[in-house]
C-alpha cells in the first residue's frame, strides 16, 4: 500500500511524467501484415492514469486484508483465501500498470479467475459454485470480444505510429513512446475501428457488469463480503471502466463507439438502480448499486471525459468498499443478509451505522461527501456534450433520474437495517461491533468517503486527473443549476425512503396494486437471468445432446454399418473379439503382411513407371 501511495504521490507532483519499463516476452515470426515479425512485450507503464487507479487498488486492498483478519477468522480454508486474495491484488496491480493491450488482457483474465475462485470460496454451497461459474462464463463472453478487439487494433494500426520507429508493431504495441501516446492522432474512423472499439466495449461490459452482461454481479455476492468489497465493488469490476479509459486515451474511439458507450452506460445506470429498489438482500442492493455507478463511469468515459470517469472510479471505490464492509459488519453480527429481518441496529452498532450512513450519503451525492463531486462532474460533463448527438439526451436523462433512485434505495437499506427499535426477526443474535481490525478500515474508509471528493482541489492530485479532456468549469450557472437539481432529486429520494421505511416502518405494497407487477418484474431482474439460464441450460444443452446422439448413432452408426456390410470382416471381428491376446497378435501380423503385400503389388507397377519415365 505504501508503495502504491508513493507512486501515486510521486506521479501527482511530477506532472506529465510517465515511466515505461519493459522486457521482451515473445517474438513472433513474420506474417503478411508484419513482414518483420512482431514482438509482444511485458512492461509497466506508470502514468497519472495508472497511478490514480493503483492508489485505489493498494489502499482498498490493504484495508480489506486488515478487515478480513477479523471478518474471516471463523472460516476454514484461510490459507486459500489469503493466497487467492494476494494473487488477485498482484494481478490487479499488474493490470493497472500494463503497458500494452495483450498484457492488459493477460492480467485481466487472471483477475477474472481470482474472482471465480473467491466467489466460489464457499464451494460446498451449490449456489456459490453456480454463481462462480456464471461469473466466469458471462465475463468470458466479454473476454472473447476483448480478444477480437485486440486483434483488430493490432492490425488496424500495424503500420501506424511516429515515423522512423517502425510502427506500433515493432514496439510491441505499447501505449506510449517518450511519454506521449504512441498512437496520438492515428485515430481512424473506419468501420474496422468502430468494430474494434465495440469489441473493447464488449470486454469492458463483461468485466464491469454493464447491460446486457450484468447478470453475474448480483450473484457474485455469494462470495465473502470482503471479496465483494474489494473485487466486486472497488477494483476488478472497475477494470472495465479503466480499459475504456486506457483505450480512449491511447487508441481512441470513433464517434459511433462513443454513442454506444454512452447509451450502455446511461441505460445501465438507470436499469440497475431500478432493481436495487426492491431487493431484500443488503449485499445485492449494494451490488446493483455498483452496476449502476459503473454505468455512470462508462457514461463519462463514453462522452469523452476520461478523467471525470476515473475520478468517479476513485471516489466510488472508497464509498462502495465502505458500504460493503459496513454491510459485512452487520452480516457478521446478525448472521443474515435479509434486510427485513434486521432493524434497530443503530443502537448496538453505532460505528457501523454511521459508516453505512457516510457511505450512503456519498453514494447519494450529498455534499460535501465524495460522491457528490464526482457524480456531479459526470452529469455536468455529459450535459456539456449533449450537442454532440441528439441521442445523448435520453441517456443523460436516465442517468439523471437514477440519482433519485440511488438515494432512495440506499437509504431504504439504511432505515431497514439500522432504524427502529429492534430486529424484526427476534431470533437474530444480539448484535455487536466486530474487533478492531474490522473497525479501523471502517473509520479510514469513512474519512475517505467523506473527503475524497475534495482531493481534486489538492494541487498534486489535480495533476493526476490531467489526462483526457479536463474537468469542466465547476462554477458556471448551468453547472450550479444542474447540481442543485440533482441534489434536490437525491434529497427527495432520501425523504421518500424515510417516509416509507424510516423509524422502523415497513411499507407494504397493497397486494392489489398494479405496481405489484412491476415489483415482481424487478425482483425477477427483468427475467434476464431466467432467459440466460434457459438459453444456457435448455438451449445449448439440447443442441449438445442432439449432437452427441448424432455422434454416437449416426457417425459411429455409419461405421458399424460398413462393418456389417463387409460380412466377412464382421465374422472375423466376432471371432477376434472372443479371442485372446495371441489372436490380436496374429491379426496384427496379418495386417502387416497385407501392407507389405500391397507394397510388393505396387512396386512393379511403379518400377515400370520409373523405368519408363
Amino acid at each position: 500500500m505504501v508503495l502504491g501511495l508513493l507512486i501515486g504521490i510521486g506521479e501527482g507532483f511530477s506532472p506529465g511524467r510517465t515511466t515505461n519499463v519493459q522486457i521482451l516476452w515473445l517474438h513472433l515470426p513474420p506474417s503478411a501484415q508484419f513482414p518483420n515479425g512482431f514482438s509482444l512485450v511485458m512492461g509497466t507503464l506508470v502514468d497519472p492514469l495508472s497511478a490514480l487507479v493503483l492508489m485505489v487498488v493498494t489502499v482498498v486492498g490493504f484495508l480489506v486484508l486488515l478487515y478480513s483478519i477479523g471478518y474471516m477468522h471463523q472460516d476454514r480454508g484461510l490459507a486459500r483465501y489469503y493466497a487467492e486474495l494476494s494473487l488477485f491484488l498482484a494481478s490487479m496491480s499488474a493490470l493497472v500498470v500494463a503497458n500494452n493491450l495483450l498484457e492488459f488482457f493477460l492480467f485481466w483474465e487472471l483477475v477474472g479467475v481470482c474472482s471465480y475462485f473467491l466467489i466460489g470460496f464457499y464451494y460446498e454451497k451449490p449456489s456459490a459454485a453456480s454463481a462462480a461459474k456464471e461469473a466466469f462464463l458471462v465475463t468470458r463472453v466479454g473476454d472473447v470480444m476483448f480478444l477480437l478487439g485486440i486483434f483488430l487494433y493490432f492490425y488496424l494500426y500495424a503500420a501506424a505510429g511516429p515515423a522512423g520507429l517502425g510502427g506500433w508493431a515493432a514496439n510491441g504495441f505499447v501505449f506510449v513512446h517518450n511519454g506521449q501516446p504512441f498512437l496520438a492522432g492515428a485515430t481512424s474512423s473506419s468501420t474496422l475501428a468502430t468494430v474494434a472499439g465495440l469489441m473493447i466495449l464488449g470486454g469492458a461490459a463483461g468485466k464491469s457488469a454493464q447491460f446486457p452482461l450484468h447478470v453475474w454481479l448480483p450473484d457474485a455476492m455469494e462470495g465473502p463480503t470482503t471479496v465483494s468489497a474489494l473485487i466486486h465493488a472497488a477494483t476488478m469490476v472497475a477494470a472495465g471502466v479503466y480499459l475504456l479509459a486506457v483505450t480512449s486515451v491511447f487508441l481512441g474511439f470513433t464517434s459511433f463507439d462513443q454513442l454506444v458507450i454512452v447509451a450502455i452506460g446511461g441505460f445501465t445506470a438507470f436499469f440497475a438502480a431500478t432493481m436495487a429498489v426492491v431487493h431484500p438482500d443488503i449485499k445485492r442492493v449494494i451490488a446493483y448499486s455498483t452496476i449502476s455507478q459503473l454505468g455512470y463511469m462508462v457514461l463519462a468515459v463514453g462522452a469523452g471525459f476520461t478523467a471525470v470517469g476515473l475520478y468517479h472510479l476513485f471516489t466510488h471505490a472508497f464509498f462502495k468498499a465502505l458500504l460493503f464492509l459496513a454491510a459485512g459488519s452487520v452480516i457478521h453480527a446478525v448472521g443474515t443478509q435479509d434486510l427485513f429481518k434486521m432493524g434497530g441496529l443503530r443502537r448496538s452498532m453505532r460505528l457501523t451505522s454511521v459508516a453505512f450512513a457516510v457511505g450512503g450519503l456519498a453514494l447519494a451525492g450529498i455534499p460535501p461527501f465524495a460522491g457528490f463531486w464526482s457524480k456531479d462532474d459526470i452529469l455536468a460533463s455529459v450535459y456539456s456534450q449533449l450537442g454532440a448527438h441528439p441521442l445523448y439526451w435520453p441517456f443523460f436523462l436516465l442517468a439523471f433520474a437514477a440519482v433519485f433512485l440511488t438515494a432512495y434505495y440506499i437509504f431504504r437499506a439504511w432505515f431497514l437495517a439500522f432504524s427502529g427499535s429492534g430486529p424484526r426477526d427476534p431470533s437474530l443474535p444480539h448484535a455487536h461491533e466486530g474487533p478492531w481490525t474490522m473497525q479501523v478500515p471502517l473509520v479510514v474508509l469513512s474519512v475517505l468517503a467523506a473527503g475524497a471528493g475534495m482531493f481534486a482541489f489538492l494541487p498534486g492530485f489535480a495533476n493526476l486527473l490531467e489526462r483526457g479532456p479536463g474537468i469542466p468549469p465547476h462554477f458556471g450557472t448551468t453547472e450550479i443549476l444542474l447540481s442543485g437539481a440533482s441534489l434536490a432529486l437525491a434529497v427527495g429520494g432520501i425523504a421518500l425512503a424515510w417516509a416509507l421505511w424510516g423509524n422502523g416502518r415497513v411499507y407494504a405494497l397493497p397486494a392489489s396494486s398494479p405496481a405489484q407487477a412491476v415489483r415482481r418484474l424487478l425482483l425477477e431482474r427483468y427475467y434476464f437471468k431466467a432467459a440466460y439460464d434457459w438459453i444456457g441450460a435448455r438451449g445449448v444443452n439440447t443442441v449438445a445432446r442432439a449432437a452427441d446422439f448424432f455422434d454416437v448413432y449416426v457417425i459411429d452408426g455409419v461405421v458399424h454399418g460398413f462393418e456389417g456390410a463387409f460380412g466377412g470382416l464382421s465374422d472375423r471381428l466376432r471371432r477376434i473379439q472372443s479371442g485372446v491376446v495371441s489372436d490380436y497378435a496374429s491379426y496384427l501380423v496379418a495386417g502387416l503382411i497385407g501392407v507389405f503385400a500391397l507394397l510388393l503389388l505396387i512396386a512393379p507397377f511403379l518400377l515400370a513407371r520409373v523405368g519408363g519415365g
Binding site: 517474438h27 513482414p35 515479425g37 483474465e109 460446498e124 462464463l137 472473447v144 477480437l148 449438445a544 520409373v610
Partner: protein
C-alpha cells in the same frame, strides 16, 4: 559431434527391452530410461543452433542430421536418415516429458508391470522415431511401432469394453496408415525420386503438377487426419480413451494425436505445397467442423474421460486450422498448441484416471463435492481445466492466442467461430468443475483418500511444465520459429 539421435534411439530401444524382462523391477528401469531420455533431449536442445536465443536468423534444413545407407536398390535408395528441426524438437521434448510423467504416475501399477512399462516405453520409442525420421520407410516403421503397443495397452489393461475399443482403434488407424503409406510411395514414384530421403522427396515433388499434388495431399490428409482425429473420422478416439488405462490415455492424447499433426506438416504441407494451397478450403472446412463439433458434443458428456476426449478433438481442430492458414505464425501456433495440448490433456487424463481409481466412477452425474476429500486431486483438475480453457500464465494461452491471431490475419472474421467456441469450451470445463469439485459431497465412498505420492508427482510434473512454458513460452517459440517454413504460399 555425437550422433545424439541415434544415442536416444539406442537408449530407448535398450531400455524398452530391459523393461520387458525386468519383471517386478521394471518400473525402476523405466524411470531410469525416462530420466536418461529427458536428459538426452536436453542435450539435443543444447546442441540445436536455434536455442536458446533467437536472433532472427533461420536454421536451414535439419540439425543433428545423420544418414547411413540402409538398403540400396538400383532404382531406389533407402537410408537411415534422421534429423530434427525446431518443430520436431519441441514435440520430442513433449514426448520425453510425458514419458517421464506417465512412468512416475503409473508407479503403483501391479498388473503385469514389466509388460505395461515396456509397452509404454515402446510407444514413446516409436513416437520419438516418427519425429526424428527423415526417410519414408523409417518413418513408416516407427509409425507402426507406435500403433502396436498402444493396441496392446488398450486391449490388455483397459476397461470392460477394451476389446471393442482396441480393435476399433487398430482398424481406424491401420487403414489410415495404409492410405498414408500409399500416398507417400505414390509421391516418390510419380515424382521420379530415387531416394526415400525427405530432402530428395521434397525436391522432386516440386515437379508434380497441381492436380496430382492436390490428390496426393488428400490421401495424406486422410492418413494423418484419422490420427488427429478430425470429424467425421473421430469416433475411435472417445472409445479408445474411455477404455484405455490411464497411462495409455495420456500417451494416446498427449503424443499419438501429435503424430498426425506432425506428419501433416512434415510430409504433406512441406512436400506438397501446391496441393496444400489447392486443398486448403477442405482443410478449413474440416477444421471448423472439428472445432465446433468437439466442443459442442463435449457439453453433453457425463463421463469425464469422454469429455476430455471430445475436447481433444476441439483442440486438435484448432491445430488443423492453424496449419491450414498456411503462415509461419500459424505453423508456430500449431506446434505450440500441440505441445500445450499434449501436456494439458495428459494432466486431465491423469486426473480422470485418479478420479476413477479413487471414487470408482467417472460419471459427472454421480460425483460431487470431492474437494474436501481430495484437495490435491481437485487442484490438479482445476489446473488442467483452466489451462485447457486458455487461462493466461498457463501454456494454453500463448498457443491459442497465436492460433487465433494467425487465423484472423488470413481469414478475417472467420475467426469468430473458434473465438465463439472458446466460450463453449469454458462452459463445459466450468460445468465439470462445478459438478465434480464443488457443491455438497456426493458419491464419495468411505475411505477415499487423496492422490498417492507417485500420482501427485506425475501430475505435478505436468503442472510445472504448464506453468513454466505458460510464463516463458519463448523457450519453445524461439526454437519453433528458427525453422524455415518450407512451402507456404506467402510469408
Amino acid at each position: 559431434m555425437l550422433p545424439l539421435i541415434s544415442i536416444v534411439l539406442a537408449t530407448l530401444a535398450a531400455g524398452t527391452a530391459a523393461t520387458f524382462v525386468a519383471g517386478t523391477r521394471a518400473r525402476y528401469v523405466a524411470l531410469g530410461v525416462s530420466a536418461a531420455f529427458l536428459a538426452e533431449v536436453g542435450l539435443m536442445f543444447a546442441a540445436y543452433p536455434g536455442w536458446p536465443g533467437y536472433n532472427g536468423a533461420l536454421v536451414p534444413g535439419f540439425a543433428e542430421q545423420e544418414s547411413h545407407a540402409w538398403l540400396h536398390l538400383p532404382w531406389l535408395q533407402i537410408n537411415y536418415t534422421v534429423g530434427v528441426d525446431g518443430i520436431s524438437l519441441v514435440l520430442i521434448l513433449l514426448t520425453a516429458v510425458l514419458q517421464l510423467a506417465t512412468v512416475v504416475y503409473s508407479w503403483e501399477e501391479r498388473e503385469r508391470p514389466a509388460a505395461y512399462f515396456g509397452l509404454m516405453l515402446l510407444t514413446c520409442f516409436g513416437s520419438f522415431g516418427v519425429f526424428a525420421a527423415l526417410d519414408i520407410l523409417l518413418f513408416f516403421l516407427f509409425w507402426e511401432a507406435v500403433l502396436v503397443p498402444m493396441f496392446f495397452l488398450i486391449g490388455g489393461w483397459g476397461g470392460p469394453r477394451r476389446r471393442y475399443a482396441a480393435l476399433k482403434f487398430f482398424v481406424y488407424t491401420h487403414v489410415a496408415s495404409i492410405v498414408m503409406l500409399v500416398g507417400l510411395l505414390a509421391i516418390v514414384f510419380y515424382s521420379g525420386a530415387t531416394s526415400f530421403d525427405f530432402s530428395a522427396v521434397y525436391a522432386s515433388a516440386r515437379g508434380l503438377g497441381v492436380l496430382p499434388q492436390s490428390f496426393l495431399f488428400l490421401a495424406l490428409l486422410f492418413g494423418f487426419g484419422v490420427k488427429f482425429p478430425v470429424v467425421p473420422f473421430h469416433t475411435w478416439l472417445p472409445d479408445a480413451h474411455v477404455e484405455a488405462p490411464t497411462g495409455g490415455s495420456v500417451l494416446l492424447a498427449g503424443i499419438l494425436l501429435k503424430l498426425g499433426g506432425y506428419g501433416l506438416i512434415r510430409w504433406a504441407v512441406e512436400v506438397l505445397p501446391q496441393g496444400f494451397a489447392h486443398d486448403r478450403p477442405i482443410l478449413f472446412a474440416v477444421a471448423f467442423l472439428s472445432i465446433a463439433w468437439g466442443s459442442i458434443v463435449s457439453l453433453a458428456q457425463r463421463d469425464m474421460k469422454r469429455l476430455v476426449a471430445f475436447s481433444s478433438i476441439n483442440h486438435m481442430g484448432i491445430v488443423l486450422l492453424a496449419i491450414a492458414v498456411g503462415s509461419s505464425l500459424g505453423l508456430l501456433a500449431a506446434v505450440l498448441l500441440m505441445f500445450a495440448h499434449g501436456i494439458v490433456s495428459g494432466l486431465l487424463f491423469m486426473s480422470a484416471g485418479t478420479v476413477h481409481h479413487t471414487f470408482g466412477t467417472r460419471d459427472l452425474g454421480a460425483l460431487g463435492g470431492i474437494t474436501p476429500t481430495t484437495p490435491v486431486l481437485s487442484t490438479m483438475i482445476m489446473a488442467g481445466s483452466l489451462a485447457s480453457l486458455g487461462l493466461p500464465a498457463l501454456i494454453g494461452f500463448p498457443a491459442e492466442f497465436t492460433a487465433l491471431l494467425a487465423t484472423w490475419e488470413r481469414l478475417g472474421y472467420w475467426v469468430l467461430l473458434p473465438l465463439g467456441i472458446l466460450v463453449v469450451t469454458a462452459a463445459f470445463y466450468l460445468w465439470m468443475m462445478q459438478r465434480v469439485l464443488f457443491g455438497p459431497p456426493r458419491g464419495i465412498p468411505p475411505g477415499a483418500h487423496d492422490v498417492s505420492f507417485s500420482e501427485g508427482a506425475g501430475m505435478g510434473l505436468l503442472v510445472a511444465a504448464t506453468v513454466l512454458f505458460g510464463i516463458l513460452p519463448s523457450l519453445l517459440v524461439n526454437v519453433i520459429v528458427s525453422s524455415p517454413v518450407k512451402g507456404f504460399p506467402g510469408p
